[in-house]
């Protein structure tokens, strides 16, 4: 499958730029790109967009262990003979290591539910992908939006998958304070985590005992139970 025409490349280039091609097709595109410079400009244009998509996401702290592990790997690689990562033409992403071909996917799967629900939250579109009859998981899906002049919170919960998504657009807090999200159960509030003012968060969590979710302002590290009156409460 290494004889794609330039026109076929044009059609697939955007999909290639977001890593959405199946492996065979992706490899075929890479082979073509390694030998044909006609697509460099357009690929560069697409990459100028995809490079910025991660700005939609929050930065996530890494562990100190990761730092040590990276530096250890670096040290042992530097000590070893010259490293080389096999790849095609310069502007292309690294060639993936050879792997067994994957089979067909069992769908719908967790990955899709996550993506579909993320979609709903990320752009506040309502219940696309969930309200559609063919995708609707049994057991229903909870969708809540709390909106005000300076805030918007979208909450989606898929009971069948115990998957919750929260999109927060809240006023910024000083560095010593943070938003903490709680599920309200018969036994009292249980923390769902500390979150930044503007963030989209996915979590696998069982909310079957929760009657509501609430958000309170807490000290930066979070509290074991709310120390202030919740600023928002939404019944599930």
């Amino acid at each position: 499958m290494n004889d794609l025409t330039c026109q076929e490349i044009d059609e697939s280039l955007a999909a290639y730029a977001v890593d959405a091609l199946d492996r065979d097709e992706s490899v075929a595109v890479e082979h073509h790109l390694a030998e044909c410079r006609q697509h460099d400009a357009e690929l560069g244009d697409f990459r100028s967009v995809t490079d910025r998509l991660p700005a939609m996401l929050d930065s996530v702290e890494t562990s100190g262990r990761l730092r040590n592990s990276l530096l250890d790997a670096f040290d042992s690689a530097v000590g070893a003979p010259a490293p080389a990562e096999p790849m095609g033409a310069t502007p292309q992403p690294p060639q993936p290591p050879r792997q067994p071909k994957r089979g067909t996917f069992a769908m719908p799967s967790f990955g899709y539910a996550l993506a579909a629900a993320l979609l709903v939250v990320a752009v506040g579109l309502g219940a696309w992908g969930i309200s559609r009859g063919d995708d609707a998981p049994p057991g229903g899906v909870v969708v809540r939006t709390i909106e005000g002049s300076d805030h918007r919170v979208d909450f989606v919960y898929v009971p069948e998958r115990q998957l919750a998504l929260l999109s927060l657009e809240l006023p910024q807090l000083s560095a010593d304070r943070a938003y903490q999200v709680w599920q309200i159960t018969d036994g009292g509030p249980v923390s769902m985590g500390v979150m930044a003012a503007n963030t989209v968060t996915a979590m696998e969590i069982d909310l079957s005992d929760a009657s509501a979710i609430a958000i309170s302002i807490e000290p930066a590290g979070g509290s074991t139970s709310p120390t202030t009156t919740p600023i928002l409460v939404s019944e599930i």
Partner: protein
């Protein structure tokens, strides 16, 4: 990061300078981790991808064009590796997000955070200019890690339609992002 500083770090990586790798890591680890985590949804796998990606960036430093920027190369690598892992894993969701995981904190300095907030606004605005089907296609493929065929099945359209939606979407977003910068 200043272009001069980027050039300095790229030069350092090419010389196998450990401190330069640390500099690059400190500048971008939070953003790289955020991206890997979003695609994979699993903390341990995401950290593996982050480590592999920084090592790959170092190995490619000789071919890296500083004009494109370290961030750009790094995100391309991280995304590629994260999607690759997602597909290897077969999307069974064996691992998942730890609800107690601190999801959004640190990993970047105030300057970096401010730049990202601006950037976030432009990207959000660019996404909003897209018709709904195109926006869905971008989000499902890039953030959801779905393939063209998977999106086609879900949206009940031919694969060719998904490809052309992506192409139109990225073209339109590019124009929108360019405009917001002038």
């Amino acid at each position: 990061m200043e272009e001069e500083q980027e050039q300095y770090l790229v030069d350092g990586l090419r010389r196998n300078d450990r401190a330069s790798l640390e500099g690059v890591y400190d500048a971008y680890r939070g953003a790289a981790h955020g991206l890997a985590l979003r695609v994979l949804g699993a903390a341990s796998e995401a950290e593996d991808v982050v480590q592999e990606s920084f090592l790959a960036l170092w190995r490619q430093a000789g071919r890296l064009d500083p004009a494109r920027g370290i961030r750009s190369y790094l995100f391309t690598i991280v995304h590629h590796k994260a999607v690759d892992r997602l597909r290897q894993r077969g999307r069974k969701g064996e691992t998942s997000l730890d609800p107690e995981m601190p999801i959004a904190s640190g990993g970047e300095g105030p300057e970096e955070a401010a730049t990202r907030a601006d950037d976030q606004e432009s990207v959000r605005a660019a996404l909003q200019t897209l018709p709904e089907d195109q926006r869905q296609t971008v989000l499902l493929t890039y953030f959801g890690g779905l393939t063209i065929n998977e999106v086609a099945t879900r949206m009940q359209v031919p694969a060719g339609t998904v490809k052309s939606r992506l192409r139109l979407a990225l073209g339109r977003m590019r124009r929108s992002l360019n405009e917001s910068e002038t």
